[in-house]
């Protein structure tokens, strides 16, 4: 009889996979933090370090994929084990994309140069950056603790980021209209806003996956998100 959860072999590989995902999570959080700092400080070297480090995150995703597929193929797990492994595969993909958005943000530092004065006039962006980072951290915590209550809270916070995005976008349009010289830099910041909004979406995806992992039901696309 095949008993995946009961074998020590499975347990060791399973906990190694979880560990790999958490390393990815820490890395994605770091990239995002560095990208936002580089932007705020107009620090080009810091921005370049994000672009370089993202390759490592990409490589980690490939490793998680391989380890996850290996566990599915060789141990054919069921129930919670199955849900955790399949969600780890999805979360790894989300984290890799968080890294891509961090890179996009870092790349705008070059366009903005070291005069990010416009940024201080759009406080929505800094607020979005703060909430998106918190959402990502909270989503990863909910994974570690298997806590679907916290995960649902992350999902609810996404609305706030969306409305900040909307208002920041309008504010930047207005700056462009008022001063055509700002068009290039304002466009860059619109892209920053777009990237931060996507990070919040990805943190929401991670949180939704945690709810599925814990409760075995999908809350994607608004289904059952408001419950418990």
């Amino acid at each position: 009889m095949n008993l995946p959860g009961g074998s020590r072999h499975f347990q060791e590989e399973f906990s190694a996979l979880r560990h790999q995902l958490l390393e990815m999570g820490a890395m994605a959080e770091e990239l995002l933090r560095f990208a936002v700092e580089a932007l705020m400080e107009g620090n080009v070297e810091k921005a370049d370090s994000v672009i370089l480090a993202d390759r490592e995150l990409d490589a980690m995703e490939v490793e998680v994929d391989e380890a996850g597929i290996h566990l599915l193929a060789l141990h054919q797990p069921f129930a919670r084990d199955l849900r955790v492994i399949t969600m780890i595969l999805r979360i790894a993909n989300d984290l890799e994309r968080v890294g891509d958005h961090a890179v996009n943000i870092a790349e705008t530092v070059h366009h903005l140069g070291s005069a990010p004065s416009l940024l201080t006039r759009v406080p929505q962006l800094e607020e979005m950056a703060r909430i998106s980072r918190e959402m990502l951290t909270q989503a990863l915590d909910s994974f570690v603790r298997g806590d679907s209550v916290v995960a649902r809270e992350v999902c609810r916070r996404d609305d706030r980021v969306d409305s900040l995005h909307e208002s920041g976008f309008r504010s930047l349009l207005k700056h462009m209209a008022d001063d055509p010289q700002l068009v290039g830099r304002a466009m860059s910041l619109i892209l920053v806003g777009r990237n931060l909004e996507r990070v919040a979406d990805l943190a929401t995806n991670v949180a939704e996956d945690v709810v599925y992992m814990v409760e075995g039901r999908s809350i994607k696309h608004g289904a059952g998100r408001r419950e418990p």
Binding site: N2, P4, G5, G6, S7, F10, F78, A79, G216, R217
Partner: protein
């Protein structure tokens, strides 16, 4: 035609030991229902009760009700031998009649029950061998002993033999436990084909097999029905802790 089966407070006693402890199970028609659970949980005792195989076995007592469609199978008017043509059984080890040819294995029961005219025997043999995917493999040696076939083919002969009396239900007690992976795959594919016309109940130790072949799964532990659900749900998100522990291997 496929039929439903239903048990009500089914109990099976081996002497003083209660092996099945009051199981209520509704088996849908034209679907595969699998019964899983640890060794000694009462799976085989349960499935054997469904066509009265415990009848006359010393020290074994069965109580409760079992319905085939609307008919209680212990009804006085129902001959257990006739019941077993409606509710067929396939066992773990392939057991073709050892002295008979392939053809005789298949025609024996229908002939005995008067279910086939002499002139129709050949077409019956061809029909059930085609349904079990054996026709092309054995059509040139129908009069050879069935026992000379490979064990996977022998098991399919046993299924063909069971189908020859046009059962409504087919019970299978670990039908692939003694087969290699290729033969196992063939039997599993066959179940998928057969379930349109025959209700299938399969006992299996192999959870992956239950997950692959069945529409509903019953988890039995210590003689009790712990959980009975759609297979998809039971293996991704079981409702009971005990089921979760068993299917993820964290049992006991």
């Amino acid at each position: 035609m496929a039929e439903t089966m239903r048990t009500q407070d089914l109990r099976v006693f081996f002497g003083d030991t209660e092996a099945v402890k009051g199981v209520d199970l509704e088996i849908p028609a034209a679907a595969v229902t699998s019964i899983i659970g640890p060794s000694g949980c009462g799976k085989s005792a349960l499935i054997r009760a469904l066509n009265r195989m415990h009848d006359g076995v010393p020290g074994v007592r069965v109580s409760g009700r079992i319905y085939l469609g609307n008919r209680e199978i212990h009804d006085e008017g129902l001959d257990p031998v006739l019941l077993r043509t409606r509710v067929g059984m396939v066992f773990q080890r392939p057991n073709p009649f050892p002295t008979m040819s392939i053809r005789q294995n298949i025609t024996f029961a229908p002939r005995r029950h008067g279910l086939v005219q002499k002139g129709e025997e050949s077409s019956l043999v061809e029909m059930v061998l085609r349904r079990t995917g054996l026709w092309d493999e054995v059509k040139d040696r129908l009069d050879h002993p069935a026992i000379a076939l490979s064990s996977g083919q022998q098991q399919r002969i046993c299924i063909a033999r069971a189908l020859a009396v046009r059962p409504q239900i087919l019970l299978m007690d670990e039908p692939t436990a003694a087969l290699d992976p290729t033969a196992t795959h063939r039997i599993e594919a066959l179940l998928y084909e057969l379930k349109r016309d025959v209700t299938i109940v399969i006992v299996t130790h192999n959870m992956q097999q239950a997950a692959r072949v069945s529409d509903r799964t019953a988890f039995l532990d210590d003689g009790c029905l712990v959980e009975y659900e759609e297979t998809d749900r039971l293996f991704t998100n079981p409702a009971r802790e005990r089921t979760e522990a068993y299917i993820t291997g964290r049992f006991g």
